[in-house]
Symmetry: D2
Subunit: 180 residues, 4 copies
C-alpha cells in the first residue's frame, strides 16, 4: 500500500499548548487527530472521552493526541471563549487547534474540507512520517484504534535504524516497511 | 528486553473447537489468553465481553483469542456441563479450554499455577513465537491491550522476511526486533 | 380497574432467608418479585443489578424485593449448589426462592407457569394486599418501575385509615382507592 | 411533615414552550425542575438524559418536567443563543427557562439563589399544590426519584375527591394526607 502525506492543518488559534502546532512539528510521533465540535453529542459522550483515555494509554509512547475544533454549524454558539470554558469544564488537557473559518464565508472550516471529513466526530491517524493512514467518521471501535496505533508504533521503532535512503524512497512506513 | 517462552497449557477438555489446542499449534499467531471463571462477576461483565470485541476487531489478523476456564473455587457449581450452558447462553464462540484440576487435590488448576495467576480475570499476551509478553490481572484498559496486540502484529509482519537464523537466536520478537 | 390476587408461589427451597417466604407472609408490603435464571445474560447484566438498586432505594419503605430462580432450561447446570455459589459471588443478599420443578417432568417450573411468564427476566409487582398489579418481561424502565412502586406505597399509606369494610370490598387497592 | 410553598421562578426567557411558564400555571401537576448548565459535564452526561427518560416515563401522567438554565459561571459562553443550539443538538424538547441574572451584578442567578441551590445539576420535586417536597444536588438515584414522583402522583389522585377545606388547611399534601 502507498499512502499520501496528510494535509497540513489550517488553524486560527491553539489552546492547551504554549505555541501553535503543525504536522511538521509533530514529525516522529504517531498523531491521532480528533476533530470535534463542543456541541456535538457523540463527540462529548464518546469521542472526547476516548481521546482522553488514549492520552493516558500512550503516556510513555511517541503518540500525540491532538484535538481540532471543526465548527461547521452554530458558529455563534461555539466561539473560542465557549470552547475555552468547555475544555476547562471537561478537563481536556491535550492541545486543541481551532480550525480556520472557511474561505469565501463558507460554513465548513478549512482543515475539515482539506481532509474531506463528513462530520464530527472524525478521528484521523497519521504516522510518524506524516502519512495519512486511517480516517474514521463517527464512533471508533477502541480495539481497532488501539491496534492501529500499536502497529504504527512498532513500524516506527523498527524501521528507523534499518532504513536506507533507498528503502525510504521506496516503501517507507507501509505496514511491511522497515526491514530491508 | 528478553522474554521467556509461555508455559504450555494443561487442559482436560476443549469447547468451541473441533480439536484440542496447544500453544505449539498456535505458533505464528499472536495469542490472547483469557483466563476466567463462569461465576466471576468481573469476568462476565468486563473480561469476556472484551474478549468478544477483540475477536471482532482482529477478524482479519493473525490473532487467536482463547478462553481458559480456570476454576479455583465452587468446583461443584462450575462443571463442564455448566460451562457449556454458560458459553451457549452468552454466545461465546471462541475456543475455551478447561484448565486441568490441580494435582494432589489442590484447588488451583495447573495452568493457572504455571502462569502464577493471582485470580480471575487474567489476560495473557503471547507473541507469535510463543513468548510470554504481558500478563494482566483484573480489568485491562482496552487501549493498552489493543496497542500491545498491534505492536506484536507489526513485529510479526516485519521480522519474518528480515530475520536470519543468527538474528533469530539473538533478539527475536522483542519490540525492537526484526531489523538487523 | 379491578385486580386479581397474585398466584401463590411454589418453591422447593429458599436462600438468603432464615425461613421460607410466601405471599401471605409478606402481606402489608409491596412485593417486587424478580424471576431470573443464573445463566440468563439479561438477568445478570440488567435485572439483578436493578433489583439490588431497588433494595437500596426502598431500604426504609415497606417493600420486599424477592428473587425467584425459575429454571426452565439447562437444569443440570443451574442446580441449587450453583445458585448458592452465584448469589455469593454476585453479592445478592435478598431472599431467593427456587421455583418448584414442573409437574409431570415438564421443563417449566410451577410458579413460572402459574404467572404465565414468557421467559426471564420477569418482574412482577404485587401490592400490599396481595393483588397482582403489573408484570414485565425483559428489561424494565427504571422510572416506570420506581413510579409504580411509589404509587403503591402511597396507596398503602393513604387507604389504611380511611377504608371501611364496604370500601374495601368495593374498589380496594386500585390506584384511586383509599378515599371514600 | 409540613412543607413550604416552592419559591416562584425568576426567568428572563423560555425555550421549547409557546409561552412563559410559572409555578402557578403548573398547579395540578407534579413538577420536576432540572437546574443545569449546558457546560456542566454531570448535567450533560447524567441529569439531562435522566430528565429525558422521565419525560417518556410520565408521558401519560400529570407530571411536568421543566429545565432551568442556572448559569453561575462562564456567562459569556453560555448565552441564550448557545443554549438554543445546545437544546437543538441534544434533542431536548421539554420547556427550559433561563434563570434571571443575579441582581447587583452577582454571578448567581435569582431562582438558583431563591432555592439555595449548591450547584448544578440540582433536581427539585414540587407537588401538584406547589409545595417544595425534595431537592437533590448532584446525581439522583433513578429509583429514588421515580418512587418520590410515584408517591406524589397517588397523593394527588387520592386526595382530590376526599379533601375538605378543613383537611386542606390541616395536613394537605403530606405523604399520609388525602384521606379523612
Amino acid at each position: 500500500m502507498d499512502f499520501l502525506p496528510a494535509p497540513e492543518w489550517f488553524t486560527s488559534e491553539w489552546l492547551n499548548t504554549p505555541e501553535p502546532l503543525s504536522l511538521a512539528r509533530l514529525r516522529g510521533q504517531v498523531v491521532v487527530l480528533h476533530a470535534f465540535q463542543m456541541l456535538c453529542p457523540a463527540c462529548v459522550s464518546h469521542a472526547l472521552p476516548q481521546a482522553q483515555r488514549l492520552v493516558v494509554a500512550t503516556r510513555d509512547a511517541p503518540v500525540a493526541v491532538i484535538g481540532l475544533h471543526t465548527v461547521f454549524e452554530h458558529h455563534d454558539a461555539m466561539t473560542v471563549a465557549a470552547l475555552r470554558a468547555f475544555l476547562h469544564e471537561y478537563r481536556i488537557h491535550f492541545p486543541v487547534g481551532v480550525d480556520a473559518r472557511g474561505t469565501n464565508g463558507g460554513d465548513i472550516p478549512q482543515t475539515m474540507r482539506a481532509y474531506t471529513m463528513q462530520g464530527t466526530p472524525t478521528t484521523v491517524l497519521i504516522d510518524a512520517a506524516g502519512y495519512l493512514r486511517r480516517q474514521w467518521f463517527g464512533a471508533v471501535d477502541e480495539f481497532a484504534l488501539g491496534i492501529a496505533v500499536g502497529r504504527l508504533l512498532t513500524e516506527q521503532t523498527t524501521e528507523t535504524p534499518a532504513t536506507t535512503a533507498a528503502a525510504e524512497a521506496a516503501a517507507i512506513y507501509s505496514p511491511s516497511a522497515g526491514c530491508s
